[in-house]
Amino acid sequence: MLSLLQQSHSVLNPSSPQTRLIDRLWDAMYFVSAVVFVLVVLALLLSVFRRRDSEAAETDPGQERSLTTAVSIATALTVLILFGFLVYDVAVGRQLTRGLGKDALQVRVIGHQWWWELQYRDSVAQNWFTTANELHIPVGRPVALELLSTDVIHSFWPPTVSQKRDLIPGKDNSLWLQADTPGVYRGQCAEYCGQQHAKMAFLVIAQRPDSFASWLAAQRDTALTPTTQPAIRGQEVFLASSCVMCHAIAGTPAGSRIGPDLTHLASRRTIAAGTLPNTRGNLAGWIVNPQSIKPGTRMPPNQLKPADLQALLAYLETLK
């Protein structure tokens, strides 16, 4: 998490073809506007400090004519520049929304208060799986996202790799993105969605195609049945307590879809939608009293006996 924060996650630091297009459009607008601004200020200063012959200006037809010409040229230039921007902007917009080939990876993104559900689709239904808050993508291949929401409006925005798009309840939105270089890019909900909107982050993890393929294969697996003692007890605790009301672990009877899927929890870098690094201590604090970390979050406090809690943590750590 700390190493993440050292990277620049600004829109001005683009890492994908799309954001580079947007960045170039921004640069063009910025520099042209800067030149226009300087010219306007110079013209203003000129008019303020110019020596004025009070009578002569009104009677000299030559000066009047040259002023008319100057104003006409400035107006025409303004219209031309703005029209040029309009054409450029529409051209960039068309490139950002072009149709994708069949090789695009399909991912469904569902916004919840306050986390991201990610469903990876495949032509074989058995290969579908669900994960949370970490969008893994292969480098150099377009990814088609289907954006949905189940409660309020959210907005999907990893500034360095993609444009911004709203997730609207009752309306299917779509977006595509592509990353050029492997890396971890931070994303954030960009539409106020309630109390913990600020702690609704996600990671876009761009990987080389081979490491992405191995990640995909690992995620498609169901969770391993624990074999050592504290983990066996931990699974019993999970299935017998309130965890099972909201969370799913593939390969166990737990199948509720209200909270994040925990089948491969230990493979994720953060918990609670980018709020905390995924360590044993943080996980323990989160399970016992999530309301002290993220007040208002849908997860209730859980008081477990210390031995049960340790067993549960041991089990959750096996969910690689």
């Binding site: 017998a240 309130s242 309301q291 859980n302 008081q303």
Partner: protein, 200 residues
């Protein structure tokens, strides 16, 4: 003319001013009394396998001398946020799988005035936490007591037992019934046990 009026009615003006101040104070009191901000309490109670409350009673009948009934008010009876949470949980935990949107189906209806096991908050809490014969499972230890209280408040709002400004005013999904806010207050009636329950 104006100044003459002021001089003439100096004493009356004094009295008028103090009357105006009194009226302003009274107005402020009336307005500010309405400014009660609802609180959202996020530090709920931890779940435990046993319900932490005194036994709820379904009737006043009991052996020996009579005891005064201890009525416990649910913590979310006057809290719109809690009722809305209860509504979300009602669907999330699949109460709607048996009770549907209150009209009943596999389980008894919740939006009418008939109550088999009592309509008071503590009765409904116990029904959810301990379960009832013939199909109602026990959710104690599975659902946090705080969340059970939220569901209790929502269930009561279905038959208009909560204040209208506390009951929820919209659905997250398709409209399947009129809003809880619009529910008429139904006077709870103690219903006989269903024949299937008596056979047990």
């Amino acid at each position: 003319m104006c100044s003459r009026f002021r001089e003439g009615g100096a004493a009356a003006g004094q009295r008028g001013r103090s009357f105006a101040a009194l009226r302003m104070t009274a107005g402020a009191v009336i307005v500010l009394v309405a400014c009660q901000r609802e609180e959202r309490n996020f530090s709920g109670m931890p779940p435990s396998a046993t319900s932490t409350m005194p036994a709820a009673r379904e009737s006043g009948l009991q052996p020996g001398p009579s005891v005064r009934s201890t009525s416990i008010n649910g913590p979310y009876e006057q809290n719109a946020y809690g009722v809305a949470q209860g509504k979300t949980l009602y669907n999330a935990f699949n109460c709607s799988g048996c009770h549907f949107q209150g009209g009943g189906g596999i389980g008894p209806p919740l939006m009418d005035d008939e109550w088999v096991y009592g309509s008071r908050p503590e009765n409904i809490f116990e029904t959810i936490a301990e379960g009832r014969p013939n199909g109602m499972p026990s959710f104690g230890g599975k659902i946090n007591p705080d969340q059970i209280w939220q569901i209790v408040a929502y269930v009561r709002s279905m038959s208009g037992l909560l204040r209208k400004d506390v009951a929820t005013g919209r659905n997250d999904d398709m409209q399947v019934r009129s809003q809880e806010q619009a529910a008429d207050k139904a006077k709870p009636v103690q219903s006989a046990l269903p024949p299937s329950a008596e056979r047990q």
